[in-house]
Symmetry: C2
Subunit: 379 residues, 2 copies
């Protein structure tokens, strides 16, 4: 609807963006190579490279081509363009790393937390990791944070919903990182980042509409629609704890209560007792079989909700017990008897939430660099 205003500045900005983007993908290129890859003429590329070198966004690496013909100079993104902080916060600890616009990791800090360490410990670990990475890897221009709890879309703060386990605790990542990160702090929950990872380099590449159901201590879900993780108004898409489903006795109850009814909750908590559950999944007696059936029925209800509101091409099952083969078998059997069905896949990527968050960080850092070359151009 809104066509940008034509201007010569726009053209220049577009040329520069082409150059920067191709350098983000290829770490060192001669001007001739840039011209070939972008399809833009050599003289134009030469001007753009000169302009960007002047602006400090691109540098002559000093390396030269070898082989026949005139020696060429390799150019690359300037090294001091800054990095992005990528952090994952789970009940077990904080993992943080810095990535640059090329997607290279520049350091990693792991801080273990013992269970129920409290939010102060998590905040401190995050802040300390950021400080260390900021020193070693250069200025942190933005941060992308994954948290094992629902995240408020507007503020980036963690939210405690009723009857949901609050794994990481009250935490305000933008506030914690305000001092060490100069730019925006993007926070989302781990399941959403994991879904992004599976979409970009996992088991559902090319599938623009899918649902990722995470089954662990908490119950979470991510909805990818038209190739983008959907967050809804408050960022609470995927909070399936209160979805109505079928309980073990056939009565309608909230999904989270199924685990209470099956005696699969940790003491004095609303968190799922994962070791116990895994144990049951591996057992073959009649009681274990009943539990499997009850779980399949309950999860079938959740999937009916997913079908109704997200119409996925595929459902990805992840989390500590979500990808258990016997569980998937049981759910598939249940779905086969349902009026509508959907293919199931087990998630496969290791540390998917970090992978997804990293991809977002690289993307955002790239956009920031492109924008910084032409602050006034908008299109």
């Amino acid at each position: 609807m809104t066509a940008p205003k034509p201007s010569l500045e726009l053209l220049r900005a577009l040329t520069d963006e082409n150059v920067l983007r191709v350098l983000m993908a290829h770490d060192r290129l001669t001007r001739a190579e840039i011209a070939a890859r972008t399809g833009i003429s050599k003289p134009t590329i030469s001007e753009s490279v000169q302009r960007l070198e002047q602006a400090g966004l691109v540098v002559d690496t000093g390396e030269r081509t070898t082989g026949r013909g005139r020696v060429g100079s390799y150019y690359a993104l300037a090294p001091h363009l800054g990095t992005a902080l990528v952090a994952s916060i789970t009940p077990h600890g904080v993992v943080a790393e810095a990535v640059d616009a090329r997607g290279r990791t520049h350091g990693e800090v792991r801080t273990a937390l013992h269970a129920d360490a409290g939010q102060e410990a998590a905040a401190e670990a995050l802040g300390a990791a950021a400080a260390r990475l900021g020193e070693s890897a250069g200025p942190l221009r933005l941060a992308v944070v994954s948290a094992a709890d629902p995240v408020d879309r507007a503020t980036g703060r963690l939210v405690h919903l009723p009857d949901a386990p609050f794994l990481v605790g009250a935490l305000d990542p933008p506030a914690v990182l305000a001092g060490t990160v100069t730019g925006p702090v993007l926070v989302d929950n781990d399941v959403n980042w994991a879904a992004r990872a599976e979409y970009e380099q996992g088991c559902v590449q090319g599938v623009d509409d899918f649902v990722y159901l995470h089954l662990g201590e908490g119950l979470g879900c991510a909805v990818v629609g038209d190739g983008v993780v959907r967050r809804g108004h408050g960022g609470l898409v995927g909070e399936v704890a209160h979805l109505y489903t079928a309980g073990p006795d056939g009565r309608a109850m909230a999904f989270t209560e199924v685990f209470a009814a099956l005696d699969l909750r940790r003491d004095a908590s609303t968190a799922v007792d994962v070791p116990r559950l895994l144990d049951l999944l591996d057992t073959s007696d009649a009681r274990a079989e009943r539990v499997r059936l009850a779980l399949a029925h309950a999860i079938g209800g959740v999937l009916a909700g997913a079908l109704a509101f997200a119409d996925p091409r595929t459902v990805v099952l992840g989390g500590p017990w979500g990808s258990h083969p016997r569980l998937i078998d049981a759910i598939e059997e249940h779905l086969a008897r349902s009026p509508r069905s959907v293919p199931l896949i087990a998630a496969a990527l290791p540390l998917p939430e970090l992978t997804g968050a990293r991809a977002r960080a690289v993307e955002e850092l790239g956009s920031q660099i492109v924008r910084s070359a032409h602050p006034t151009a908008q299109w």
Copy 2:
């Protein structure tokens, strides 16, 4: 990620797009006015207008300015640019009209169908309406069709889901219109178009995330996420018939079966008996009260699903019985006792599906015209 290649052709295309867009919004303007509104200089606009007049996209209307100063010529979009067919197909009949790129309606054809007239009758009515409008309103460059049944996203054909009433019947609008409409035929179900209408000119303007629940003979729903109607992989987002919810006895059952359990289905059909239901909503005895409670509980379950998978800012209730005040009251009471809640609004627009489809048609026609000015430019 993909920056367009800079070129002078791109600039020219952008100028032309600015001119065309402003003429779509303002039906007649002098070149000076176009320059003022777009912010582009007068000489550049003059060139563009000349180019577009040459191409036949813009015409000198012959009208001249009055008042002080030199007389100016008013230009407008060429009248023969074609129109778009907008059609709504319901069990009661077919309503069709033609709209031009300015959003003006150029004719309307209403064809009543008696209930269960069959798909041949509907197809014939649609085809006949298109033929008539094509003759009277000029060539139909595209069509936007609303149907009161689920629509397959890939093919545009209507889909019959198990246990859902098939109101309009097997119908393949793209095939029916292939002869009379030269361009694409966009088909979607009426609830999705209604949601778009409420978003653009109804009760949820500016709300980027909401859910529209349509309660009539069929049970449907639309999900708007980040300002766009979400359709999912197959176009079946919003098909809530098989969502698990609570039945009158508290047992988990599919939403559609609640109406069977409450004896609120039409004979030999899975369609809701709307007159009977409205009657009960207006009655005050104990039995009616029990039905209201049961409906509120069941719909509460559907809304729990919406909260889990769409996280709407607001829920819009529409359809013949969806916006009944006593029903809304009952649902609100139920939600107040639930762990999570959401504001409810009654839908208000008349013929919302036609309004939404019309908006899409105008948008698409505009894009087609813009593209036709520069077929090779891509950005």
